[in-house]
Symmetry: C2
Subunit: 217 residues, 2 copies
């Protein structure tokens, strides 16, 4: 039996480092130009350099960091153009998921979506854009799960990870939550009506508006 729950090396250590690093990047704790030195990270997280290295390799495959030979890793900056392209892909894939969700959702799952919509309305009414952004993300994730499209879900999670910075920036824009909210409610309504085409249209309309907002930024 290992002495600690978190060993300093091995597969578990890599997973631990991977998660910590991912969170740090997603929470914006690393400035975009900052160099990620393997030795420093290894010491900081108390794991071996091999674990850090493997984790960075994984993150590079996910598109979260950039690796330059003999120069180290940096968090990758997603330009607005890339963010738009990514959102266009989300439009296509989440449209698929929403259509499936409209067909496959159980009544209990529909209630869940309705509850989420209510919570979102309340967050907007309370003028709490951060909570709203969280709920927003949760709603999208819930719809994906309900669709049961594992392939699409996998792709979407990768895509979303690259957008976090833009997402927060968007949520804090004045007036944005209000518009976003009505679009989301339309999506929920279409799914509750079990109308796959309407659900797909609603999701596309919503993400189209996200693209407009991105471009306007």
């Amino acid at each position: 039996m290992p002495k600690e729950a978190r060993p300093g090396s091995g597969e578990q250590a890599k997973q631990y480092a991977l998660e910590r690093l991912r969170q740090a990047i997603l929470r914006g704790e690393m400035s975009p130009a900052q160099r990620l030195v393997e030795n420093e990270l290894a010491e900081q997280y108390d794991v071996t350099r091999a674990s850090i290295r493997a984790a960075l390799l994984d993150l590079a495959a996910e598109g979260l960091v950039e690796r330059i030979r003999n120069r180290g890793s940096r968090v990758r900056v997603v330009t607005v153009e890339e963010a738009v392209e990514i959102t266009e892909c989300r439009m296509a894939l989440e449209g698929l998921c929403a259509a499936r969700a409209a067909v496959d959702a159980t009544d209990a799952q529909l209630d869940e979506l309705t509850a989420l919509g209510k919570a979102m309305s309340e967050a907007v009414a309370a003028g709490d854009p951060l909570s709203y952004s969280e709920l927003n993300h949760e709603l999208h994730a819930r719809i994906r799960d309900i669709s049961g499209q594992q392939t699409a879900v996998g792709l979407l999670e990768r895509l979303n990870a690259q957008l976090v910075r833009h997402r927060f920036q968007l949520a804090l824009r004045p007036g944005r939550p209000q518009q976003s909210l009505s679009e989301h409610l339309a999506v929920i309504e279409a799914i509750r009506a079990r109308d796959p085409q309407a659900a797909e249209r609603a999701v596309r309309a919503h993400l189209g508006s996200v693209i407009d907002a991105l471009r306007a930024g």
Copy 2:
């Protein structure tokens, strides 16, 4: 200067092993249940085990092989259900690409597509399903390129790699090339007409028919 163009180790060796392995898997030279032993592969391709290991790690990230801890790697078998899911994602993403291609294509690119369509017609007329399958793949790739959607292209290439086995199986089915051909010609026609919505519909119709064929298999 290195003695050989292909060093036995290092980054280039990894790339070399990666490409050889990928080709071998895509060409079906590895039986699905066969174990991929790192030492054997290293000797076979004359590179170090580290290179093979890195290559296998990459292939696992692409979804082409499965890695089981302390048990080695095997080529991943894609079930029909997975193939259907993947094709559904392709439907969404290639629909996006086709719509964009209809808007952005230059006249020269339109001519290219027309030429591809003609070559496909000839392959079907000549009863050559293998050439047809090649051209089919080329057409889809060409449309993706024209769309300029780098994100979508990247996702699609990963998805397609997992479908090679099913694709060949499908192409050899009697009567399949004929139906597929008319659908492809419709796609080309819609793009030439610069009608994005029609192009998206045509692509979706085509891949929908692919899904039906997969399910019937």
